[in-house]
Symmetry: C2
Subunit: 232 residues, 2 copies
Protein backbone atom coordinates (compact mmCIF):
# COMPACT_ATOMS: atom_id res chain seq x y z
CA UNK A 1 0.00 0.00 0.00
CA UNK A 2 1.45 3.41 -0.95
CA UNK A 3 2.16 6.08 1.63
CA UNK A 4 -1.04 7.99 2.31
CA UNK A 5 -3.17 4.94 1.56
CA UNK A 6 -4.82 5.22 4.96
CA UNK A 7 -5.84 8.81 4.31
CA UNK A 8 -7.40 7.93 0.96
CA UNK A 9 -9.33 5.12 2.59
CA UNK A 10 -10.85 7.31 5.32
CA UNK A 11 -11.68 9.92 2.68
CA UNK A 12 -13.51 7.30 0.65
CA UNK A 13 -15.26 6.05 3.76
CA UNK A 14 -16.45 9.54 4.57
CA UNK A 15 -17.74 9.96 1.03
CA UNK A 16 -19.56 6.62 1.38
CA UNK A 17 -21.04 7.84 4.69
CA UNK A 18 -22.28 10.95 2.93
CA UNK A 19 -23.97 8.79 0.27
CA UNK A 20 -25.54 6.60 2.96
CA UNK A 21 -26.95 9.67 4.69
CA UNK A 22 -28.37 10.93 1.38
CA UNK A 23 -29.97 7.51 0.75
CA UNK A 24 -31.42 7.46 4.24
CA UNK A 25 -32.83 10.98 3.85
CA UNK A 26 -34.25 10.10 0.42
CA UNK A 27 -35.82 6.93 1.83
CA UNK A 28 -37.39 8.86 4.68
CA UNK A 29 -39.11 11.46 2.49
CA UNK A 30 -40.35 8.73 0.11
CA UNK A 31 -41.81 7.00 3.19
CA UNK A 32 -43.36 10.29 4.38
CA UNK A 33 -44.95 10.78 0.97
CA UNK A 34 -46.29 7.19 0.92
CA UNK A 35 -47.78 7.74 4.39
CA UNK A 36 -49.30 11.08 3.36
CA UNK A 37 -50.95 9.37 0.38
CA UNK A 38 -52.27 6.59 2.60
CA UNK A 39 -53.56 9.22 5.02
CA UNK A 40 -55.55 10.98 2.33
CA UNK A 41 -56.68 8.10 0.10
CA UNK A 42 -57.41 5.72 2.98
CA UNK A 43 -58.60 8.45 5.39
CA UNK A 44 -56.02 7.00 7.81
CA UNK A 45 -55.12 9.27 10.76
CA UNK A 46 -52.41 6.86 12.00
CA UNK A 47 -50.58 7.15 8.68
CA UNK A 48 -50.90 10.95 8.96
CA UNK A 49 -49.36 10.90 12.43
CA UNK A 50 -46.50 8.67 11.22
CA UNK A 51 -45.75 10.96 8.26
CA UNK A 52 -45.49 13.95 10.59
CA UNK A 53 -43.43 12.05 13.17
CA UNK A 54 -40.64 11.47 10.63
CA UNK A 55 -40.03 15.20 10.12
CA UNK A 56 -37.43 15.71 12.89
CA UNK A 57 -35.31 12.82 11.51
CA UNK A 58 -35.28 14.47 8.09
CA UNK A 59 -34.26 17.83 9.58
CA UNK A 60 -31.48 16.18 11.61
CA UNK A 61 -30.14 14.40 8.51
CA UNK A 62 -30.02 17.70 6.60
CA UNK A 63 -27.83 19.14 9.36
CA UNK A 64 -25.68 15.99 9.57
CA UNK A 65 -25.05 16.00 5.82
CA UNK A 66 -23.96 19.64 6.02
CA UNK A 67 -21.62 18.94 8.96
CA UNK A 68 -20.01 16.01 7.12
CA UNK A 69 -19.78 18.00 3.87
CA UNK A 70 -17.99 20.83 5.70
CA UNK A 71 -15.64 18.30 7.28
CA UNK A 72 -14.88 16.76 3.89
CA UNK A 73 -14.32 20.16 2.30
CA UNK A 74 -12.09 21.37 5.14
CA UNK A 75 -9.91 18.29 5.58
CA UNK A 76 -9.97 16.35 2.31
CA UNK A 77 -9.79 18.97 -0.47
CA UNK A 78 -12.09 16.97 -2.79
CA UNK A 79 -11.70 17.70 -6.51
CA UNK A 80 -13.74 17.51 -9.74
CA UNK A 81 -16.50 14.88 -9.56
CA UNK A 82 -16.29 14.42 -5.78
CA UNK A 83 -16.50 18.18 -5.18
CA UNK A 84 -19.51 18.40 -7.51
CA UNK A 85 -21.15 15.55 -5.61
CA UNK A 86 -20.56 17.13 -2.19
CA UNK A 87 -21.83 20.56 -3.27
CA UNK A 88 -24.83 18.89 -4.88
CA UNK A 89 -25.54 16.96 -1.67
CA UNK A 90 -25.79 20.33 0.13
CA UNK A 91 -28.37 21.51 -2.43
CA UNK A 92 -30.32 18.24 -2.68
CA UNK A 93 -30.84 18.03 1.10
CA UNK A 94 -32.67 21.37 0.75
CA UNK A 95 -35.05 19.77 -1.77
CA UNK A 96 -35.49 16.64 0.34
CA UNK A 97 -36.22 18.70 3.46
CA UNK A 98 -38.90 20.65 1.55
CA UNK A 99 -40.45 17.39 0.25
CA UNK A 100 -40.63 16.04 3.80
CA UNK A 101 -42.25 19.29 4.90
CA UNK A 102 -44.86 19.15 2.14
CA UNK A 103 -45.66 15.50 2.95
CA UNK A 104 -46.08 16.38 6.64
CA UNK A 105 -48.29 19.33 5.67
CA UNK A 106 -50.49 17.06 3.48
CA UNK A 107 -50.77 14.62 6.40
CA UNK A 108 -51.78 17.44 8.76
CA UNK A 109 -54.44 18.72 6.36
CA UNK A 110 -56.00 15.26 5.87
CA UNK A 111 -56.98 15.33 9.55
CA UNK A 112 -59.27 18.27 8.76
CA UNK A 113 -61.07 16.58 5.88
CA UNK A 114 -63.22 14.20 7.95
CA UNK A 115 -65.25 11.89 5.75
CA UNK A 116 -65.13 14.28 2.82
CA UNK A 117 -62.76 12.23 0.69
CA UNK A 118 -64.98 9.16 0.74
CA UNK A 119 -67.94 11.21 -0.49
CA UNK A 120 -66.59 12.77 -3.66
CA UNK A 121 -64.78 11.24 -6.60
CA UNK A 122 -61.12 12.15 -6.51
CA UNK A 123 -59.62 10.19 -9.38
CA UNK A 124 -57.47 13.21 -10.30
CA UNK A 125 -55.95 13.52 -6.85
CA UNK A 126 -55.20 9.78 -6.64
CA UNK A 127 -53.61 9.77 -10.06
CA UNK A 128 -51.57 12.88 -9.31
CA UNK A 129 -50.37 11.53 -5.95
CA UNK A 130 -49.35 8.26 -7.62
CA UNK A 131 -47.42 10.01 -10.40
CA UNK A 132 -45.66 12.28 -7.91
CA UNK A 133 -44.71 9.31 -5.74
CA UNK A 134 -43.34 7.40 -8.76
CA UNK A 135 -41.33 10.43 -9.84
CA UNK A 136 -39.99 10.96 -6.34
CA UNK A 137 -39.01 7.28 -6.00
CA UNK A 138 -37.24 7.42 -9.36
CA UNK A 139 -35.45 10.67 -8.47
CA UNK A 140 -34.23 9.24 -5.14
CA UNK A 141 -33.17 5.97 -6.83
CA UNK A 142 -31.33 7.90 -9.56
CA UNK A 143 -29.57 9.92 -6.85
CA UNK A 144 -28.47 6.73 -5.14
CA UNK A 145 -27.27 4.92 -8.28
CA UNK A 146 -26.03 7.99 -10.20
CA UNK A 147 -28.40 7.04 -13.01
CA UNK A 148 -28.68 9.94 -15.42
CA UNK A 149 -31.20 8.20 -17.74
CA UNK A 150 -33.72 7.73 -14.93
CA UNK A 151 -33.09 11.33 -13.86
CA UNK A 152 -33.92 12.57 -17.35
CA UNK A 153 -37.15 10.52 -17.34
CA UNK A 154 -38.18 12.23 -14.08
CA UNK A 155 -37.30 15.61 -15.56
CA UNK A 156 -39.52 14.96 -18.59
CA UNK A 157 -42.48 13.59 -16.59
CA UNK A 158 -43.21 16.77 -14.59
CA UNK A 159 -45.51 18.52 -17.13
CA UNK A 160 -48.01 15.61 -16.91
CA UNK A 161 -48.30 16.26 -13.15
CA UNK A 162 -48.83 19.98 -13.74
CA UNK A 163 -51.65 19.24 -16.18
CA UNK A 164 -53.51 17.01 -13.71
CA UNK A 165 -53.04 19.69 -11.04
CA UNK A 166 -54.61 22.34 -13.26
CA UNK A 167 -57.62 20.12 -14.05
CA UNK A 168 -58.05 19.29 -10.36
CA UNK A 169 -57.90 22.93 -9.35
CA UNK A 170 -60.92 23.60 -11.61
CA UNK A 171 -62.70 20.49 -10.31
CA UNK A 172 -62.43 21.61 -6.68
CA UNK A 173 -63.51 25.19 -7.45
CA UNK A 174 -66.58 23.71 -9.17
CA UNK A 175 -67.38 21.60 -6.09
CA UNK A 176 -67.17 24.68 -3.91
CA UNK A 177 -69.54 26.62 -6.15
CA UNK A 178 -72.05 23.75 -6.25
CA UNK A 179 -72.02 23.19 -2.49
CA UNK A 180 -70.66 26.03 -0.34
CA UNK A 181 -70.70 23.75 2.73
CA UNK A 182 -67.72 21.97 1.13
CA UNK A 183 -65.62 25.16 0.89
CA UNK A 184 -63.52 24.41 3.98
CA UNK A 185 -62.72 20.84 2.93
CA UNK A 186 -62.15 21.76 -0.73
CA UNK A 187 -59.77 24.55 0.28
CA UNK A 188 -57.72 22.00 2.20
CA UNK A 189 -57.81 19.69 -0.83
CA UNK A 190 -56.57 22.52 -3.05
CA UNK A 191 -53.58 23.03 -0.77
CA UNK A 192 -53.00 19.26 -0.61
CA UNK A 193 -52.96 19.13 -4.42
CA UNK A 194 -50.60 22.11 -4.51
CA UNK A 195 -48.28 20.37 -2.04
CA UNK A 196 -48.16 17.26 -4.24
CA UNK A 197 -47.36 19.49 -7.21
CA UNK A 198 -44.51 21.07 -5.21
CA UNK A 199 -43.15 17.62 -4.24
CA UNK A 200 -43.09 16.78 -7.96
CA UNK A 201 -41.22 20.01 -8.62
CA UNK A 202 -38.54 19.24 -6.02
CA UNK A 203 -38.20 15.70 -7.44
CA UNK A 204 -37.44 17.40 -10.76
CA UNK A 205 -34.79 19.56 -9.04
CA UNK A 206 -33.16 16.39 -7.69
CA UNK A 207 -33.24 14.86 -11.17
CA UNK A 208 -31.49 17.95 -12.57
CA UNK A 209 -28.83 17.57 -9.87
CA UNK A 210 -28.24 13.89 -10.66
CA UNK A 211 -27.77 14.75 -14.32
CA UNK A 212 -25.27 17.45 -13.33
CA UNK A 213 -23.29 15.23 -10.93
CA UNK A 214 -23.03 12.42 -13.50
CA UNK A 215 -22.41 14.45 -16.66
CA UNK A 216 -21.14 17.82 -15.40
CA UNK A 217 -23.80 19.42 -17.62
CA UNK A 218 -26.41 21.86 -16.34
CA UNK A 219 -29.89 21.36 -17.80
CA UNK A 220 -31.67 24.43 -19.24
CA UNK A 221 -33.47 26.63 -16.69
CA UNK A 222 -36.63 26.34 -18.78
CA UNK A 223 -38.21 23.01 -18.04
CA UNK A 224 -40.40 21.02 -20.41
CA UNK A 225 -43.94 22.34 -20.15
CA UNK A 226 -47.36 20.82 -20.64
CA UNK A 227 -50.06 22.43 -22.73
CA UNK A 228 -51.97 23.81 -19.73
CA UNK A 229 -50.85 26.45 -17.27
CA UNK A 230 -49.97 24.91 -13.90
CA UNK A 231 -52.26 27.39 -12.14
CA UNK A 232 -55.97 27.67 -12.81
CA UNK B 1 4.43 42.16 0.70
CA UNK B 2 5.12 38.53 1.68
CA UNK B 3 5.46 35.76 -0.90
CA UNK B 4 1.99 34.50 -1.78
CA UNK B 5 0.46 37.91 -1.09
CA UNK B 6 -0.94 37.95 -4.61
CA UNK B 7 -2.71 34.63 -4.08
CA UNK B 8 -4.30 35.82 -0.85
CA UNK B 9 -5.48 38.96 -2.57
CA UNK B 10 -7.21 37.11 -5.43
CA UNK B 11 -8.77 34.77 -2.88
CA UNK B 12 -10.13 37.74 -0.96
CA UNK B 13 -11.34 39.31 -4.19
CA UNK B 14 -13.21 36.14 -5.09
CA UNK B 15 -14.80 36.06 -1.65
CA UNK B 16 -15.83 39.71 -2.10
CA UNK B 17 -17.30 38.80 -5.52
CA UNK B 18 -19.30 36.04 -3.86
CA UNK B 19 -20.67 38.54 -1.32
CA UNK B 20 -21.53 41.01 -4.10
CA UNK B 21 -23.45 38.29 -5.92
CA UNK B 22 -25.34 37.39 -2.74
CA UNK B 23 -26.19 41.07 -2.19
CA UNK B 24 -27.35 41.40 -5.79
CA UNK B 25 -29.50 38.29 -5.51
CA UNK B 26 -30.94 39.48 -2.18
CA UNK B 27 -31.69 42.92 -3.67
CA UNK B 28 -33.43 41.33 -6.65
CA UNK B 29 -35.81 39.19 -4.59
CA UNK B 30 -36.61 42.15 -2.28
CA UNK B 31 -37.43 44.11 -5.46
CA UNK B 32 -39.58 41.24 -6.77
CA UNK B 33 -41.48 41.12 -3.48
CA UNK B 34 -42.00 44.93 -3.51
CA UNK B 35 -43.33 44.69 -7.07
CA UNK B 36 -45.60 41.77 -6.18
CA UNK B 37 -47.05 43.82 -3.30
CA UNK B 38 -47.58 46.80 -5.58
CA UNK B 39 -49.23 44.48 -8.11
CA UNK B 40 -51.75 43.24 -5.58
CA UNK B 41 -52.37 46.30 -3.42
CA UNK B 42 -52.35 48.75 -6.33
CA UNK B 43 -53.96 46.33 -8.82
CA UNK B 44 -50.97 47.16 -11.05
CA UNK B 45 -50.37 44.73 -13.94
CA UNK B 46 -47.12 46.48 -14.98
CA UNK B 47 -45.64 45.81 -11.53
CA UNK B 48 -46.76 42.19 -11.86
CA UNK B 49 -45.00 41.87 -15.22
CA UNK B 50 -41.82 43.44 -13.81
CA UNK B 51 -41.79 41.06 -10.82
CA UNK B 52 -42.03 38.07 -13.13
CA UNK B 53 -39.43 39.45 -15.56
CA UNK B 54 -36.76 39.43 -12.82
CA UNK B 55 -37.01 35.67 -12.30
CA UNK B 56 -34.40 34.57 -14.89
CA UNK B 57 -31.80 36.96 -13.35
CA UNK B 58 -32.37 35.38 -9.94
CA UNK B 59 -31.99 31.86 -11.38
CA UNK B 60 -28.79 32.85 -13.20
CA UNK B 61 -27.32 34.33 -10.01
CA UNK B 62 -28.04 31.11 -8.12
CA UNK B 63 -26.03 29.20 -10.72
CA UNK B 64 -23.24 31.81 -10.77
CA UNK B 65 -22.89 31.68 -6.98
CA UNK B 66 -22.60 27.90 -7.13
CA UNK B 67 -19.97 28.05 -9.89
CA UNK B 68 -17.90 30.58 -7.92
CA UNK B 69 -18.34 28.61 -4.68
CA UNK B 70 -17.07 25.45 -6.41
CA UNK B 71 -14.13 27.41 -7.80
CA UNK B 72 -13.28 28.78 -4.35
CA UNK B 73 -13.59 25.34 -2.76
CA UNK B 74 -11.48 23.66 -5.46
CA UNK B 75 -8.66 26.21 -5.73
CA UNK B 76 -8.53 28.14 -2.45
CA UNK B 77 -9.11 25.56 0.31
CA UNK B 78 -11.07 28.01 2.49
CA UNK B 79 -11.10 27.26 6.22
CA UNK B 80 -13.28 27.89 9.30
CA UNK B 81 -15.40 31.05 8.95
CA UNK B 82 -14.82 31.43 5.21
CA UNK B 83 -15.78 27.82 4.57
CA UNK B 84 -18.93 28.26 6.68
CA UNK B 85 -19.79 31.38 4.69
CA UNK B 86 -19.31 29.69 1.30
CA UNK B 87 -21.35 26.62 2.27
CA UNK B 88 -24.05 28.91 3.69
CA UNK B 89 -24.10 30.92 0.45
CA UNK B 90 -24.94 27.68 -1.38
CA UNK B 91 -27.87 27.10 0.99
CA UNK B 92 -29.08 30.72 1.12
CA UNK B 93 -29.30 31.00 -2.68
CA UNK B 94 -31.82 28.14 -2.48
CA UNK B 95 -33.97 30.23 -0.13
CA UNK B 96 -33.56 33.37 -2.25
CA UNK B 97 -34.51 31.48 -5.41
CA UNK B 98 -37.67 30.18 -3.71
CA UNK B 99 -38.57 33.70 -2.50
CA UNK B 100 -38.21 35.03 -6.05
CA UNK B 101 -40.42 32.21 -7.29
CA UNK B 102 -43.12 32.93 -4.71
CA UNK B 103 -43.05 36.67 -5.54
CA UNK B 104 -43.39 35.87 -9.26
CA UNK B 105 -46.24 33.47 -8.46
CA UNK B 106 -48.04 36.18 -6.42
CA UNK B 107 -47.59 38.60 -9.33
CA UNK B 108 -49.02 36.05 -11.78
CA UNK B 109 -52.05 35.40 -9.58
CA UNK B 110 -52.87 39.11 -9.17
CA UNK B 111 -53.57 39.22 -12.89
CA UNK B 112 -56.48 36.83 -12.29
CA UNK B 113 -58.09 38.91 -9.54
CA UNK B 114 -59.50 41.68 -11.71
CA UNK B 115 -61.15 44.39 -9.63
CA UNK B 116 -61.74 42.04 -6.71
CA UNK B 117 -59.12 43.55 -4.41
CA UNK B 118 -60.61 47.04 -4.62
CA UNK B 119 -64.03 45.70 -3.60
CA UNK B 120 -63.27 43.91 -0.35
CA UNK B 121 -61.41 45.05 2.72
CA UNK B 122 -58.02 43.37 2.84
CA UNK B 123 -56.34 44.95 5.84
CA UNK B 124 -54.97 41.55 6.89
CA UNK B 125 -53.31 40.90 3.54
CA UNK B 126 -51.78 44.39 3.42
CA UNK B 127 -50.44 44.07 6.94
CA UNK B 128 -49.08 40.60 6.30
CA UNK B 129 -47.40 41.64 3.04
CA UNK B 130 -45.81 44.62 4.81
CA UNK B 131 -44.51 42.51 7.71
CA UNK B 132 -43.11 39.89 5.33
CA UNK B 133 -41.39 42.57 3.25
CA UNK B 134 -39.85 44.16 6.37
CA UNK B 135 -38.62 40.78 7.56
CA UNK B 136 -37.19 39.94 4.15
CA UNK B 137 -35.42 43.32 3.90
CA UNK B 138 -33.96 42.82 7.39
CA UNK B 139 -32.85 39.26 6.60
CA UNK B 140 -31.13 40.36 3.38
CA UNK B 141 -29.50 43.33 5.16
CA UNK B 142 -28.32 41.07 8.00
CA UNK B 143 -26.85 38.70 5.41
CA UNK B 144 -24.98 41.57 3.79
CA UNK B 145 -23.63 43.10 7.03
CA UNK B 146 -23.23 39.84 9.00
CA UNK B 147 -25.53 41.31 11.64
CA UNK B 148 -26.60 38.55 14.00
CA UNK B 149 -28.84 40.82 16.15
CA UNK B 150 -31.00 41.79 13.18
CA UNK B 151 -31.07 38.15 12.12
CA UNK B 152 -32.39 37.14 15.55
CA UNK B 153 -35.10 39.85 15.34
CA UNK B 154 -36.25 38.38 12.00
CA UNK B 155 -36.24 34.90 13.50
CA UNK B 156 -38.47 36.04 16.38
CA UNK B 157 -40.91 38.00 14.18
CA UNK B 158 -42.15 35.04 12.11
CA UNK B 159 -44.95 33.85 14.47
CA UNK B 160 -46.74 37.22 14.10
CA UNK B 161 -46.89 36.62 10.33
CA UNK B 162 -48.26 33.12 10.84
CA UNK B 163 -51.01 34.46 13.10
CA UNK B 164 -52.17 37.01 10.52
CA UNK B 165 -52.11 34.28 7.88
CA UNK B 166 -54.37 32.05 9.96
CA UNK B 167 -56.86 34.87 10.56
CA UNK B 168 -56.85 35.75 6.86
CA UNK B 169 -57.42 32.16 5.83
CA UNK B 170 -60.66 32.17 7.86
CA UNK B 171 -61.63 35.58 6.48
CA UNK B 172 -61.37 34.41 2.86
CA UNK B 173 -63.23 31.15 3.53
CA UNK B 174 -66.04 33.26 5.05
CA UNK B 175 -66.17 35.49 1.93
CA UNK B 176 -66.46 32.41 -0.23
CA UNK B 177 -69.34 31.04 1.83
CA UNK B 178 -71.18 34.37 1.77
CA UNK B 179 -70.78 34.90 -1.97
CA UNK B 180 -69.89 31.80 -4.04
CA UNK B 181 -69.24 34.01 -7.10
CA UNK B 182 -66.06 35.11 -5.29
CA UNK B 183 -64.71 31.56 -4.94
CA UNK B 184 -62.29 31.82 -7.88
CA UNK B 185 -60.82 35.14 -6.74
CA UNK B 186 -60.72 34.14 -3.06
CA UNK B 187 -58.92 30.91 -3.93
CA UNK B 188 -56.24 32.94 -5.68
CA UNK B 189 -56.04 35.24 -2.64
CA UNK B 190 -55.60 32.23 -0.37
CA UNK B 191 -52.64 31.06 -2.44
CA UNK B 192 -51.26 34.60 -2.52
CA UNK B 193 -51.46 34.76 1.29
CA UNK B 194 -49.80 31.33 1.51
CA UNK B 195 -47.00 32.51 -0.78
CA UNK B 196 -46.36 35.54 1.45
CA UNK B 197 -46.27 33.21 4.45
CA UNK B 198 -43.71 31.05 2.63
CA UNK B 199 -41.56 34.11 1.80
CA UNK B 200 -41.58 34.93 5.52
CA UNK B 201 -40.50 31.39 6.29
CA UNK B 202 -37.55 31.54 3.87
CA UNK B 203 -36.56 34.94 5.33
CA UNK B 204 -36.41 33.14 8.69
CA UNK B 205 -34.18 30.44 7.15
CA UNK B 206 -31.82 33.17 5.94
CA UNK B 207 -31.80 34.73 9.42
CA UNK B 208 -30.85 31.33 10.91
CA UNK B 209 -28.01 31.12 8.41
CA UNK B 210 -26.69 34.58 9.26
CA UNK B 211 -26.69 33.65 12.94
CA UNK B 212 -24.75 30.48 12.10
CA UNK B 213 -22.18 32.19 9.87
CA UNK B 214 -21.51 34.92 12.45
CA UNK B 215 -21.55 32.82 15.64
CA UNK B 216 -20.95 29.23 14.45
CA UNK B 217 -24.05 28.27 16.47
CA UNK B 218 -27.02 26.44 15.00
CA UNK B 219 -30.40 27.69 16.22
CA UNK B 220 -32.88 25.08 17.53
CA UNK B 221 -34.93 23.28 14.86
CA UNK B 222 -38.09 24.27 16.72
CA UNK B 223 -38.89 27.85 15.89
CA UNK B 224 -40.75 30.27 18.13
CA UNK B 225 -44.47 29.76 17.64
CA UNK B 226 -47.51 31.99 17.87
CA UNK B 227 -50.64 31.07 19.76
CA UNK B 228 -52.58 30.10 16.63
CA UNK B 229 -51.87 27.24 14.25
CA UNK B 230 -50.46 28.53 10.93
CA UNK B 231 -53.11 26.58 9.03
CA UNK B 232 -56.82 27.13 9.41
Amino acid sequence: MPVGGHTVTSYEQELISLRHMMNEMGGLVVRQTELAIRAIIGADPDAAAQARALDPQVDTLERDVEALAIRLLALRSPMAGDLREIVSALKVTGDLERIGDYAASIAKRTLRLGTFMTEIPSAGLRRMAQLVLENLRDAVAALSTHDSDTAMRVWRADPAIDEIYTAMFREFVTYMMEDPRQIGACTNLLFIAKNFERIGDHATNIAERVHYVVTGEVLPTERPRGTASPQA
